[in-house]
């Protein structure tokens, strides 16, 4: 609900690669968060819902399967660095895509309710953008 929400997916976030569509995302939280905080990545490309388990994510130069992030508590996604979602959809340089993303970040130091569950901070994006070449 603030100015950083609009920067989660930027104008130049899409890149077409031989393997699919790369979507560079930036955090809407003010501080670096550990990788398990990428708790919810609900992505829809051109109306097609993407199974998070089919995603790979590159952070800090390391490429992980989405499911691996939950165990990477010793690595952090820095405030000004992108995390790149590798999405298995067909694309080509110059092609337009509608990208809808609900990114839910688990905030590990804000515990809510009697069960002390980390706050889930959501950010929604709905943008139609053109993929650049790799």
């Amino acid at each position: 609900m603030g100015p950083l929400d609009d920067q989660v997916v930027r104008e130049d976030s899409l890149t077409a690669t031989p393997d699919g569509l790369d979507v560079a995302i930036y955090t809407h939280w003010y501080r670096a968060l550990p990788l398990p905080s990428l708790a919810k990545v609900e992505l829809t490309v051109d109306g097609e819902r993407i199974d998070p388990q089919s995603l790979a994510v590159t952070v800090n130069g390391h490429r992980y399967a989405y499911a691996e992030l939950a165990a990477k508590g010793d690595e952090y996604w820095f405030t000004t660095d992108p995390a790149v979602l590798h999405v298995p959809v067909e694309t080509a340089p110059g092609r337009e895509h509608r990208v809808q993303l609900l990114l839910g970040l688990s905030i590990p130091y804000i515990l809510t309710g009697p069960d002390r569950v980390p706050l889930l901070a959501p950010s929604s994006t709905d943008k139609t953008l053109t993929a650049a070449g790799a």
Binding site: P3, L4, L33, T79, P108, Y109, L111
Partner: protein
């Protein structure tokens, strides 16, 4: 650096205020710190370690040298390093007491290496963990302060437990960091901007604000807010935003900050906007005359970090203008307080 008169609280800025600036092209730590110094918004400098320092909580020796160099060459004085106790680091479980201790201890050591005399943790850090950290704090000469941020108040059970521990341990190395979000008198205009942008009907924002301002404990008002907002057609994300208005803005009487003394190790000058009016500059949301009176009466001579947070809702105002306006207001109010005999 312009300082307040001797014997008064000192001013400063936290880089958290520059959250949006940090994302702009060409910005780095040196340029943000340099601009705080150039605009005379010190002398105190605070930063959030996980926000400003890539690689935290394990900075390299080279990075430590570099950060120290940036601070030293700016002429600013390190006041506080905000660190975090990420208890919910892994899904489905909280860190154990040992893991939590280690997670914070490595950051207190990092703060010492960087030259910060105070660290900030949150209320999720238990009195037992703090007591265990005490020998390390003492050895390193780094204080550990628990931030009292909305929705906490002096009456909250975890705050009472902390106070009991600080009184019992009778130590200058552990204490509180009051954050003015806990003692607000009005909802900031920036929140209205964000609600409009989120498509929330102005009547719903107004209703939430009326409930917020009504007597009684905020915690007891959530059911009525949820029911009335749902009835008015608000979506679940919109209801989440409305509830955030309750949790981010506390209504404690600012005079009650006195009850946290003598255990105050640092102060967060949280604010959302200082605006010119017919009677000069003032802050509609935070009663700075009352806060300044309490801090001077208590003989507080530590730092007040200006912490501009309207950026979480709106980019309508210039952060540097806002920091200047708050510094000028605070300096005037602090220096106008009658001297307190000590």
């Amino acid at each position: 650096m312009t300082d307040t008169a001797p014997g008064l609280p000192r001013l400063g800025t936290t880089l958290f205020s520059l959250t949006l600036e940090q994302r702009k092209p060409g910005r780095d730590l040196a340029s943000l710190v340099g601009e705080i110094a150039a605009r005379d918004l010190g002398p105190g400098l605070e930063m959030v370690a996980f926000q400003s320092l890539r690689g935290w909580p394990h900075p390299s020796e080279e990075q430590v040298r570099e950060v120290r160099g940036v601070i030293e060459s700016s002429g600013l004085t390190p006041s506080c390093l905000a660190i975090n106790n990420d208890l919910g680091l892994y899904p489905g479980r909280l860190l154990s007491a040992d893991e939590s201790y280690e997670y914070v201890a490595v950051q207190v050591r990092g703060a010492a290496a960087l030259g910060f005399p105070v660290t900030r943790v949150g209320v999720e850090t238990s009195p037992a963990t703090l007591e265990r950290l005490l020998p390390l704090a003492e050895e390193l000469g780094v204080k550990i302060g628990v931030e009292i941020h909305a929705p906490l108040t002096v009456d909250a059970p975890p705050v009472a437990a902390l106070k009991e521990a600080f009184v019992r341990l009778d130590t200058p190395w552990l204490g509180f960091i009051p954050d003015m979000s806990a003692s607000m008198r009005a909802v900031p205009e920036a929140v209205h901007d964000a609600h409009r942008a989120a498509g929330i009907a102005p009547e719903l924002t107004a209703l939430t604000e009326r409930l917020w301002a009504s007597p009684g404990l905020t915690a007891d008002k959530f059911p009525e807010l949820e029911a009335r907002a749902a009835e008015a057609g608000a979506t679940p994300p919109q209801i989440g935003n409305l509830k955030m208005l309750f949790t981010m803005h506390g209504r404690m009487d600012p005079d009650r900050w006195a009850e946290f003394f003598p255990h105050v190790v640092h102060v967060h000058g949280k604010f959302y906007g200082v605006f010119d009016g017919p009677d000069g500059a003032s802050d509609p949301s935070i009663d700075w005359p009352a806060v300044a009176r309490v801090l001077v009466e208590q003989g507080y001579t530590g730092f007040i970090s200006s912490e501009y947070e309207a950026h979480a809702y709106s980019d309508r105002w210039n952060v540097f203008d806002q920091l200047r306006a708050q510094h000028d207001l605070l300096k005037r109010l602090l220096e106008a307080q009658p001297a307190v005999a000590r």
